[in-house]
C-alpha cells in the first residue's frame, strides 16, 4: 500500500532497531475496515480509530486494546541515513489495512 503517515512519538520501543530515538512508524490504515487511525492520545499513548473506536497501544506494538479490530497496526522499520533523514529500512513486513481472505498467501 502506498499512503502511510510515519512518525508518531513513542516512549518504549521494543523491537530494537525499528525505531529511531523514540520515533516509530506504523501504518495509519485501520486493520478493522480501513479508516485512517487519526486520533492520538498522548498520555495513554493510544491510537484511536474514529470510525468504530478500535484502539491501539502505540507503546506495545500497536496491539488492539479495544474495539472490533483484530490485528495490530503493522510497523514500518525506520532508520536515519547519513544526512540525518529518516528512511524506511524496508517495506512493511505485514500486510497493511483490513484483514482479507488470502492475505497470508
Amino acid at each position: 500500500m502506498v499512503r502511510v503517515n510515519p512518525g508518531v512519538l513513542n516512549e518504549a520501543p521494543e523491537k530494537a532497531g525499528w525505531s529511531y530515538d523514540g520515533i516509530v512508524a506504523y501504518s495509519k490504515i485501520c486493520t478493522h475496515v480501513g479508516c485512517p487511525v487519526a486520533l492520538y492520545e498522548q498520555h495513554t499513548h493510544h491510537l484511536l480509530c474514529p470510525c468504530h473506536q478500535s484502539t491501539f497501544d502505540l507503546a506495545d506494538h500497536c496491539k488492539v486494546v479495544f474495539g472490533p479490530a483484530a490485528r495490530p497496526l503493522p510497523q514500518l522499520p525506520i532508520a536515519v541515513d547519513a544526512e540525518g533523514y529518516l528512511i524506511a529500512q524496508s517495506d512493511f513486513l505485514e500486510p497493511v489495512g483490513p484483514t482479507f481472505w488470502d492475505m497470508r498467501k
Binding site: M1, R3, N5, K28, I29, C30, H32, V33, G34, C35, P36, A38, L39, P50, C51, H52, Q53, V64, F66, G67, P68, A69, A70, R71, G97, P98, T99, F100, W101, D102, M103, R104, K105
Partner: protein, 552 residues
C-alpha cells in the same frame, strides 16, 4: 326498455369519446375510478413514501444536469473562498458548483437529500404498520416481499448517492465498505478490486456508483413500485374491523373523485414539507468536510440514518477475533456483523411465511389486526425494533460517551449487553402488555365502560353504572381471529415428523397465552346476569338517543 346510444355533445365529451372509441379507455377508467380505498391515518405512510420518491426523482434528475461523476483531479475555482485552489476531484468540484454557483442548485441538493431521508423513513414506518397490523397475511405475502426489496433498494440508493459528492465523509464511508467487502471469505478481495477498479480508492468507483445510483437502482425501484401498486389493486386494500367490514369486502371511498383529490393534494403537502425542511435545515454541508483524502478523518462522523444500524453492528462486534483457517484469514470482527445483519433482514423478508406455517391458516385476510390481538407477533416485532434500535444507537457510541461524559468503553460494553437482552425484554413486556390490553377489552365488552356514577337502587343497593359500548366500538373489540396451539399430529404414515413437532412447539409459543374474543353467548350471558348494571339506557337517556342514531 331499449338502450339508446347517447352521442356526446360537449367538447370534453367528444374528446373522451374519441379516445374511448380508439383506445377503449372507458372500461379501464370505470374499473379504476371506482376502486375503493379505506381511510385511516396509518394508510398514509406508504403514500408519503411514494410522493417523497417522486420528489427525489425530480430533484435527482435535475442534479444530473450539473453533476460530473469523474475522479479526475482538478483545482477548485468556484466562488466558495475557503477551498479556492484546493486540489480535488471533478465530482467534488461539481457538487460544490451545484451548491454555490448554479442557481437553485443548493436547494435542489438539499431537497434531494432530505427527500431521500424522509423517503427511507416513510418506507420503514410503512413496513412497521404493515407488520403490526398483520397486513402481510394471505393474499399479500408476496407484496410484503416486494416491499422488503424496495426497502433494501432504498438503502442502496441512499448509500450510492451519499458517496457521489466525493467529500471526506462519503470517502470514508466507501473506505469502510471496501474493508467489509475485503473481509468476505474467498471472493471479497476480488469483488473489492472489481468495484474500485484496483486498489482503493482507484479512479473508477464514482462513475460506477453513479450508474448504479441514477440508472440501475432507480429503474429497479420504479419496476418494484409498479408491481407493488398493481398488487395493491389486485388484492384491494385492507381495512380495520367495524360493522359491515369483513374479509370479503372493502369499505372506503372511491378513487374518483375522493382519493384522487386527497392523494393529489397530499403530493403537494409532501413536496412542500420537504422543500421547507430543505430550505431551513442544512443537510450534508460538503463544503465543510473538504475533499476526500484517505488520511484525515473527523471524529464523530455518522452515516445517513438508515445506514446507522449497519455501522453500529460493526462497532458492537467482538474484539480481537481474526481466525486463520489453513492460512486463510476470517476476520470475525467484520463477518459477524455482516452475517447478523443479513440474517436479520432475511427474517424480516420471510416473516409472513413463518407465521403462516405456524398458524396453518390458509384463509384470506382483509380485515387488519389490532396489534394487541396478535400478542406474539406484536412482541416479535417489538423485539426486532429493539434490536435495530440498539444497533442504531451503537453507531453513536462515541457521541453518547462524549455527551454524557462517560467512558467510551463502558458505553460500548453496555450496548453489547443491551443488544443481547434488550430484545428479550421488549418481547416479554410487549406480550404482557398486549394480553393485559386484551383482558381489559374483554372486561369492557362484557360489563360496559365504567362511568364513575354510583346509583342507589330502590331496595337500597348501590351499584356503579356501566355504559354499554356503541356498535362500532363493540365490533372493534370483539372482531378478531384467535388461534389455539396446534398439537403435533401424525401424518398419513402414522409418523409425527420433526417439522410437525417444530410447528407445534412454535404454535405453543405463539398461542399458549391467549385471550379469546368475547363470544356471542358470553356477551348475552353477561348482559342478562347484571341487567341493571349494564342496561344503562334506563338511567341514561343520553345514551338511548345515541343508540337510536346508530340503529338508523
Amino acid at each position: 326498455m331499449t338502450s339508446q346510444v347517447q352521442e356526446p355533445k360537449t367538447a370534453v365529451g367528444k374528446t373522451a369519446n374519441y379516445f374511448d372509441e380508439r383506445l377503449g379507455l372507458g372500461g379501464f377508467t370505470k374499473f379504476f375510478a371506482r376502486k375503493v380505498f379505506p381511510d385511516h391515518w396509518s394508510f398514509m405512510l406508504g403514500e408519503v413514501a411514494m410522493w417523497s420518491f417522486v420528489v427525489v426523482i425530480i430533484t435527482g434528475t435535475w442534479l444530473t444536469f450539473f453533476y460530473q461523476p469523474s475522479m479526475a483531479h482538478t483545482y477548485y475555482d468556484g466562488s466558495y473562498a475557503p477551498l479556492k485552489g484546493a486540489e480535488m476531484t471533478v465530482a467534488y468540484a461539481s457538487s460544490l458548483d451545484i451548491s454555490f454557483d448554479i442557481r437553485g442548485g443548493l436547494i435542489m441538493r438539499q431537497m434531494h437529500h432530505w427527500g431521500a431521508l424522509i423517503f427511507v423513513a416513510a418506507v420503514g414506518l410503512h413496513m412497521l404498520r404493515v407488520f403490526f397490523t398483520g397486513a402481510f397475511r394471505k393474499p399479500r405475502e408476496l407484496n410484503w416481499v416486494v416491499g422488503f426489496l424496495l426497502f433494501i433498494m432504498a438503502m442502496a440508493a441512499g448509500f450510492t448517492g451519499y458517496s457521489l459528492p466525493d467529500d471526506l465523509l462519503s470517502g470514508n464511508g466507501l473506505r469502510i465498505i471496501d474493508g467489509m467487502i475485503k473481509g468476505i471469505p474467498l471472493i471479497g478481495p476480488a469483488i473489492s478490486s472489481g468495484l474500485f477498479g484496483g486498489e482503493f480508492p482507484g479512479t473508477e468507483v464514482i462513475a460506477r456508483l453513479y450508474a448504479l445510483h441514477i440508472m440501475i437502482v432507480p429503474a429497479i425501484m420504479i419496476v418494484l413500485i409498479g408491481i407493488h401498486l398493481m398488487m395493491l389493486v389486485i388484492h384491494k386494500h385492507t381495512h380495520y374491523s367495524g360493522p359491515g367490514r369483513t374479509d370479503q369486502n372493502v369499505v372506503g371511498y372511491p378513487l374518483m373523485p375522493v382519493y384522487v383529490a386527497k392523494a393529489g393534494g397530499f403530493f403537494f403537502l409532501v413536496f412542500g414539507v420537504i422543500a421547507g425542511i430543505a430550505a431551513l435545515f442544512t443537510i450534508n454541508p460538503i463544503w465543510n468536510y473538504g475533499p476526500y483524502d484517505p488520511s484525515p478523518v473527523s471524529a464523530g462522523t455518522q452515516p445517513d440514518w438508515y445506514i446507522g444500524w449497519l455501522d453500529g453492528a460493526l462497532r458492537l462486534a467482538p474484539s480481537n477475533w481474526d481466525v486463520s483457517v489453513f492460512g486463510y484469514m476470517l476476520p470475525f470482527g467484520v463477518l459477524i456483523p455482516l452475517v447478523v445483519s443479513l440474517v436479520f433482514l432475511a427474517l424480516v423478508a420471510v416473516y409472513p411465511f413463518i407465521e403462516k406455517w405456524v398458524t396453518k391458516d390458509d384463509r384470506e385476510h382483509h380485515v387488519l389486526d389490532r396489534p394487541r390481538n396478535a400478542p406474539t407477533r406484536t412482541a416479535i416485532g417489538a423485539a426486532g425494533v429493539m434490536f435495530y434500535a440498539v444497533l442504531w444507537a451503537g453507531a453513536s457510541t462515541d457521541l453518547i460517551a462524549i455527551y454524557f461524559q462517560m467512558s467510551l468503553n463502558h458505553v460500548l460494553v453496555a450496548m453489547q449487553i443491551l443488544l443481547l437482552i434488550g430484545p428479550v425484554i421488549a418481547y416479554w413486556v410487549t406480550k404482557r402488555a398486549c394480553l393485559a390490553l386484551q383482558r381489559k377489552d374483554r372486561e369492557i365488552v362484557l360489563h360496559g365502560r365504567e362511568t364513575g356514577r354510583v346509583v342507589r337502587l330502590p331496595h337500597g343497593e348501590y351499584i356503579e353504572v356501566h355504559e354499554p359500548l356503541d356498535k362500532y366500538e363493540l365490533w372493534k373489540l370483539v372482531d378478531f381471529k384467535d388461534y389455539e396451539p396446534i398439537m403435533p399430529r401424525p401424518n398419513e404414515k402414522g409418523k409425527i415428523t420433526v417439522a410437525a413437532r417444530l410447528r407445534s412447539a412454535l404454535s405453543k409459543i405463539y398461542f399458549e397465552d391467549r385471550i379469546a374474543p368475547v363470544s356471542k353467548a358470553e356477551y348475552e350471558l353477561a348482559h342478562s346476569e347484571h341487567p341493571q348494571e349494564i342496561a344503562a339506557e334506563e338511567t341514561m337517556p343520553r345514551r338511548k338517543t345515541k343508540a337510536k342514531e346508530i340503529s338508523k
